[in-house]
Symmetry: C2
Subunit: 280 residues, 2 copies
């Protein structure tokens, strides 16, 4: 029988992918890093036992984490990314007229594995002169940072292993401090179906620092349960005030495959059965 | 190791559910019928190896198959349901001021299994005086029917076994004939990710008869890949012309948990990467 990868979304539930080829299976100081090929999603990056991204649907995740906060900020110039070693988020950010993007990834192997085996995901993003890639602990970087940013994005794994501090209240307080007066933060906040407690925790911790906190509902087909959330926190502007037409105007020409003005509005207006999780 | 149910969405991909209890496992003349209990979705109805519905998310499917066509028709009074033996769709239809609903289900065991093991799904729908349940072949019923209907809904399994004729052009032609001048039809049309060919086939066959054909994109968490489609065909009215505010007004008080005016609009405006499948 062929080997299958099981990505457990929750108790007694998994998405399962047949593994047709293994390009890399290595242990870094932080996690097990694999690149595999599956029939439905092509090449996939797996950290420990969880799908991180795939060549077939990486844009679903990266567009929805990058563009809503960048459009919520009136004029984003300086962007900080914590995590996101595959470079897919970085590529989306660089589609905007930003001046500088600092990306802090703890695990060099994630960057190297993607560049070697799924180079289409970052494209040329790591070579962009606006990019500064730092291989170090994002939590410590944010705590000690003296630089100011307009937008910060946290593209982390779920709160296990190296990512645990990235879901704590202290980390969000440090991010608040390094953001400017119009600062906007967005973080991956888990599955609304299988990690409802995580979504609630993220929202609660963010609200202790930021006046505006909005959770976006979207779809990532390669993730268990497909429905996924990102949570946006802002010092001033509210993404709810962004008309769909303004979104479509500002992303015109970027070649996006998921995010549109209507997806922006839909992400902020979930079906009633998820409101208690996403708006609680 | 515990038993797991694998629902294969496509080549090398499945959603997997741990089976904590089996309430029923029987063979009807048409298919294997199971009712099981899983940690995430509670009691689930399984036909052959495919999840049909679950107590946790049945409303996601049934609301999105029932309400968009019923609201697209100006005044639906007589409704025909083909399939849908679990009664969840029937229950949604009966929330509207309809006068008569004929439901034609080929397999009595599906009705009996649901009534016995997941009675919350149909509720009291089968006892409603407006309901006429017929246990017979839906294809033959539609071919020979002399009665006229305003709305027809096809809640079938995927095109395997008894459902194959329900995806053919002849069946859609017969449905066109038994619908009135404002007639609206809606059918379950498969996964946009794993059954793109099926979606295209349904759209092509419907277009040979109906002037308006629209595919709606929605989410059914217990289905493999979660993203799912229903395709609506209409003789006159276009669901795109229905303003979200009108939807919200007409479903107010129905206690819906998925469908809203904004979900209506979002379902008709998919992310760009799915447009070629859903609008092609």
């Amino acid at each position: 029988m062929a080997d299958w990868l099981w990505d457990h979304g929750g108790e007694g539930f998994a998405q399962a992918y047949r593994v047709d080829e293994v390009f890399l299976d290595a242990q870094s100081p932080y996690q097990r890093v694999r690149v595999i090929r599956t029939p439905m999603f092509g090449r996939m990056l797996i950290l420990d036992d969880a799908v991180q991204t795939s060549e077939a649907d990486e844009f679903c995740y990266h567009e929805m984490l990058a563009h809503p906060p960048l459009l919520t900020h009136p004029q984003p110039r300086r962007v900080l990314i914590i995590g996101g070693g595959d470079g897919g988020l970085l590529e989306e950010v660089l589609k905007h007229p930003v001046e500088r993007v600092v990306m802090v990834e703890i695990d060099r192997l994630v960057v190297d594995a993607t560049l070697r085996h799924i180079p289409e995901i970052p494209g040329r993003a790591f070579d962009d002169p606006r990019t500064e890639l730092r291989i170090e602990d994002g939590f410590a970087y944010v705590r000690d940072c003296q630089e100011r940013f307009d937008v910060a994005l946290v593209d982390s794994t779920d709160p296990q292993g190296p990512s645990v501090p990235l879901f704590g209240e202290a980390f969000y307080g440090d991010l608040f401090r390094l953001l400017g007066d119009d600062g906007v933060l967005a973080v991956q906040s888990g599955s609304p179906l299988y990690q409802a407690d995580l979504v609630s925790q993220v929202r609660r911790h963010l609200r202790t620092h930021f006046p505006v906190v909005r959770t976006l509902l979207t779809c990532v087909p390669s993730y268990p349960g497909v429905l996924w959330t990102f949570t946006l926190a802002s010092k001033r502007a509210d993404p709810l005030d962004l008309p769909p037409e303004a979104v479509d105007r500002r992303v015109a020409g970027m070649g996006l495959r998921y995010y549109t003005g209507l997806q922006h509005r839909a992400a902020l207006n979930p079906p009633p059965f998820l409101r208690s999780v996403l708006e609680g």
